[in-house]
C-alpha cells in the first residue's frame, strides 16, 4: 500500500515544482547571487500561472504566464540586488513578504474568477500502453516532470559543456577573473536572475496549474526554501539537486502515505524534513560558488 507505482508518481508530483524552481536557484547561485527571494518569485509564478490558465482556458498558456511573471520578478530582484546593490539576504526575505502581499492582493481582486478549477495538463494513457505496466507508468508521469528532467539535462549541458556555462560559472566563482576576462558582471547576473526568475515562476505555475489546479494565499508554503535547500544539498550540481528534490518528494509522499499505519499524522509529516537533515549528515558537503552573497560593488 505504501510502496507502489502510485507512490512514485505522488513523489514525482510533489517534486516537480521543486525541481524546476531548484534549477532556477542553481543558475542564480552559479552566477554568484544568493536567491533567497525565490519563494516570492515562485508565488508570483503560481498566481499568474493560474490566472493565465483560467482566463485563456489553456494550461500551457498558464505556464507561459507563470514563466513571464517569474522573469519580471527576477528582473526586479536583479535591479535590487545586482544594480543597487543591496544585501542579498535582507532583500530576498523582504521580497518574499512583498510577494505574499502582491499575490494575495491580486487574488482578492480575481478570486471570483479563480473559483473554477483550471484545465488539466495530464496525458491520457494511450490504449496500446494500458497492458504494459511500464508504459502505463511512464505515461502517468506528469508531463511537467518530463519537462523538468529535460530542463535538467539542458542546464547540465549548458553549464558544464558550453561557453556561456563556463562564463556564467566564472562570474559566480570569481568576479575578479570575470572582470579580467572582460565580462560584464552585472549584466551576466541580470540575465541569470531573469532565467532563474523564469524557472522559479514556471515552478510556481507547475505547482498551481500543473498540479493542484487552484490557488490560495501563500500556496508555496516554504517550497521555495526547500528548493533552495535542495540546491545546497546538491552541492550546486544539477544531478544532485535533482536528487535532492526527488528525495524530498519521496519523503513527503511517504509522510502522507504512512498515515494509513495509524498514529498521529503530524509525526509522519516530519519525515521529509528529518530525512533531508539525516541525509545531509552523511552527504559530502560542498562549497557555494565563492561570490554568492557578496554584493558586487563595481570596480
Amino acid at each position: 500500500m505504501i510502496f507502489d507505482p502510485e507512490f512514485l508518481l505522488s513523489a514525482l508530483r510533489i517534486a516537480t515544482p521543486l525541481m524546476i524552481v531548484a534549477l532556477g536557484v542553481l543558475i542564480a547561485e552559479r552566477a554568484g547571487v544568493l536567491f533567497l527571494g525565490v519563494e516570492g518569485v515562485m508565488l508570483c509564478g503560481a498566481l499568474f500561472g493560474i490566472l493565465g490558465a483560467v482566463y485563456t482556458g489553456d494550461p500551457w498558456m498558464g505556464m507561459m504566464c507563470g514563466l513571464a511573471a517569474g522573469v519580471v520578478a527576477g528582473l526586479v530582484s536583479a535591479a535590487l540586488i545586482v544594480w543597487i546593490p543591496t544585501d542579498q539576504v535582507v532583500m530576498g526575505l523582504a521580497m518574499n513578504i512583498a510577494a505574499i502581499g502582491v499575490t494575495s492582493f491580486i487574488f482578492r481582486v480575481t478570486a471570483d474568477d479563480l473559483q473554477q478549477m483550471s484545465p488539466t495538463i495530464d496525458w491520457t494513457v494511450p490504449a496500446w500502453a494500458t497492458d504494459n505496466a511500464v508504459a502505463t507508468f511512464l505515461f502517468s508521469v506528469p508531463p511537467l516532470a518530463w519537462l523538468a528532467i529535460i530542463l535538467y539535462a539542458v542546464v547540465w549541458y549548458v553549464l558544464f559543456h558550453s561557453a556561456p556555462g563556463l562564463l556564467l560559472r566564472s562570474v559566480g566563482q570569481s568576479v575578479k577573473a570575470a572582470n579580467s576576462a572582460g565580462l560584464n558582471v552585472p549584466w551576466v547576473r541580470t540575465v541569470a536572475l531573469a532565467i532563474a526568475g523564469g524557472l522559479s515562476g514556471l515552478g510556481g505555475a507547475a505547482l498551481t496549474v500543473g498540479w493542484v489546479r487552484s490557488f490560495s494565499d501563500d500556496i508555496t508554503a516554504g517550497r521555495g526554501f526547500i528548493a533552495l535547500a535542495a540546491v545546497y544539498f546538491g552541492r550546486w550540481y544539477p544531478r544532485w539537486t535533482l536528487f535532492g528534490c526527488l528525495l524530498f518528494g519521496i519523503g513527503e509522499a511517504l509522510a502522507l502515505r504512512t498515515q494509513v499505519l495509524g498514529g498521529n499524522p503530524h509525526l509522519y509529516l516530519m519525515i521529509p524534513y528529518v530525512l533531508t537533515v539525516c541525509v545531509l549528515a552523511f552527504a559530502e558537503s560542498g562549497r557555494a560558488p565563492r561570490e554568492v552573497g557578496k554584493p558586487y560593488e563595481g570596480r
Binding site: 543597487i84 544585501d87 502582491v102 494575495s104 487574488f107 509529516l269 537533515v277 545531509l280
Partner: protein, 351 residues
C-alpha cells in the same frame, strides 16, 4: 558566504540618515497602499487614518505594538548573534515554536511555587531552542553541512512536532480545535502595563548588545565572522566560540517562544505563532545591532498592528498589511545601500 559587516557603532550620521530614509520609505509605502485602496474602490483616507489609529490611537494600541514587537526583536537577536560569526540561523521560528511548547508543557504538567515555576519554564524553553539548533551546529562543524538548509528543515520539524503535540498527547480534552491546555493563571507572566516578558526581552537584548560590544566573546565573534582562518591561526578556539554563539541564539529563540506562551497566548495551538522568526531576520538586518533590532522590531510590529486595524476597520484586503511591512523595508535597504550613503557612513573613507 561572506558575512556583511554589521557595524557595532551607532554613529550619528548613520542613525539620522536611517531615520530619514525610513520615514520617507514609510510615506512611500503608505502612498502605495492608499493608491491600491482607491483602486479597489475603498476610502484611502479612512484606511490610512485607521492604520495610524491602530498604532498610536490609544495606550492600548501602543501596549499591543510593544508586545507584538517582543518576539520579533528576540528572534532578531537570535539571528544577529550567530550571523556575526558567519552562521546564518534561519531557524528562529522553530526555536520559538519549540520553546513555547516546552514552557506550556512544564507549566501545565508540574506544580511548583510561581516564583520558581516561571524561571524554570523559561529555562526549559531556552533548552528546547538549544536542542533544536544543536543538529545544525553539529552538522555544520563536523560535516560542513550548510546551516541554511538544516535550520530551514528543522523549522518545519518543530512546527509539525508542535501540531503533533496539540492534536495528540498535549491536546486540551474536549477542545474544539487543536490546542493545548491553558497555562494556569499563577504561572503567567505578571503584567506591569505590559507583561514582564517585555522587560526581560529588553534586558536580554541590551545585555547582548553590551556583550557583543564590550567583551572578549563579542570580539572573537567579530574576528570569526570576519576571517575564520585568521581567528583560528591566532589561537581563538573557533569551534567553541561558534558553538556558544549558536547555542545562545537557540536559547534566545526558545525564550522568545517561552515569553510568548507565558505572557501572551498561554498555550500553543494550531497557527498560534505569527512568522516572528522571519520578521526577526528582517529586524536584525535592518537594525544591524541589538539596539537597532529593538527599533526595527517596533516598526515592523507597528506596521502590523496598524495595518491589521486598517484592514479590520475598513475591510480592505489583508494583503495590504504585508505590503505595508515589506515595501518600507525594501525601500529603506535600497536607499541605504546606494553609493552615496555607503560613502557617507564608511569610517575613514574620505581621506
Amino acid at each position: 558566504m561572506k558575512t556583511p559587516q554589521i557595524s557595532m557603532r551607532f554613529d550619528g550620521f548613520q542613525l539620522f540618515s536611517d531615520i530619514g530614509i525610513f520615514v520617507l520609505s514609510l510615506l512611500a509605502a503608505m502612498l502605495l497602499v492608499a493608491g491600491l485602496v482607491e483602486l479597489i474602490g475603498g476610502d484611502a483616507l479612512a484606511a490610512l487614518s485607521a492604520m495610524v489609529e491602530g498604532v498610536v490611537g490609544s495606550r492600548q494600541a501602543i501596549v499591543e505594538t510593544v508586545i507584538e514587537a517582543t518576539p520579533t526583536a528576540l528572534c532578531g537577536l537570535a539571528f544577529l548573534i550567530p550571523f556575526k560569526a558567519g552562521f546564518f540561523n534561519i531557524g528562529a521560528q522553530g526555536h520559538l515554536q519549540l520553546g513555547a511548547l516546552a514552557a506550556v508543557f512544564v507549566t501545565t504538567t508540574f506544580t511548583l511555587p510561581a516564583p520558581l515555576m516561571i524561571p524554570l519554564a523559561l529555562v526549559v524553553s531556552a533548552l528546547a531552542g538549544m536542542l533544536l539548533i544543536a543538529p545544525s551546529l553539529v552538522l555544520k562543524v563536523k560535516r560542513g553541512a550548510n546551516e541554511v538548509t538544516t535550520t530551514v528543515m528543522l523549522n518545519f520539524v518543530a512546527i509539525e512536532f508542535v501540531l503533533a503535540m496539540v492534536t495528540g498527547p498535549m491536546q486540551q480534552p474536549d477542545s474544539f480545535f487543536a490546542e493545548s491546555n491553558l497555562i494556569p493563571a499563577d504561572y503567567r507572566l505578571p503584567v506591569m502595563v505590559v507583561h514582564v516578558g517585555v522587560f526581560l526581552a529588553v534586558a536580554i537584548i541590551v545585555a547582548a548588545g553590551w556583550i557583543l560590544k564590550h567583551t572578549v566573546f563579542g570580539f572573537r565573534l567579530d574576528a570569526l565572522g570576519g576571517n575564520p582562518s585568521a581567528a583560528g591561526a591566532l589561537g581563538m578556539r573557533t569551534g567553541a566560540t561558534l558553538a556558544k554563539a549558536v547555542l545562545v541564539a537557540g536559547a534566545i529563540g526558545g525564550i522568545a517562544g517561552g515569553i510568548q506562551a507565558l505572557g501572551v497566548v498561554f498555550q500553543v495551538a494550531e497557527h498560534w505563532a505569527k512568522p516572528w522568526g522571519f520578521l526577526g531576520i528582517l529586524a536584525a538586518l535592518m537594525g544591524r545591532n541589538p539596539v537597532g533590532v529593538i527599533f526595527a522590531a517596533l516598526l515592523l510590529a507597528g506596521l502590523e498592528i496598524g495595518g491589521r486595524n486598517m484592514q479590520a476597520m475598513t475591510g480592505v484586503p489583508a494583503a495590504l498589511v504585508f505590503l505595508l511591512q515589506s515595501v518600507p523595508v525594501l525601500l529603506l535597504l535600497a536607499v541605504r545601500s546606494t553609493h552615496f550613503f555607503k560613502m557617507m557612513s564608511l569610517p575613514g573613507a574620505s581621506r
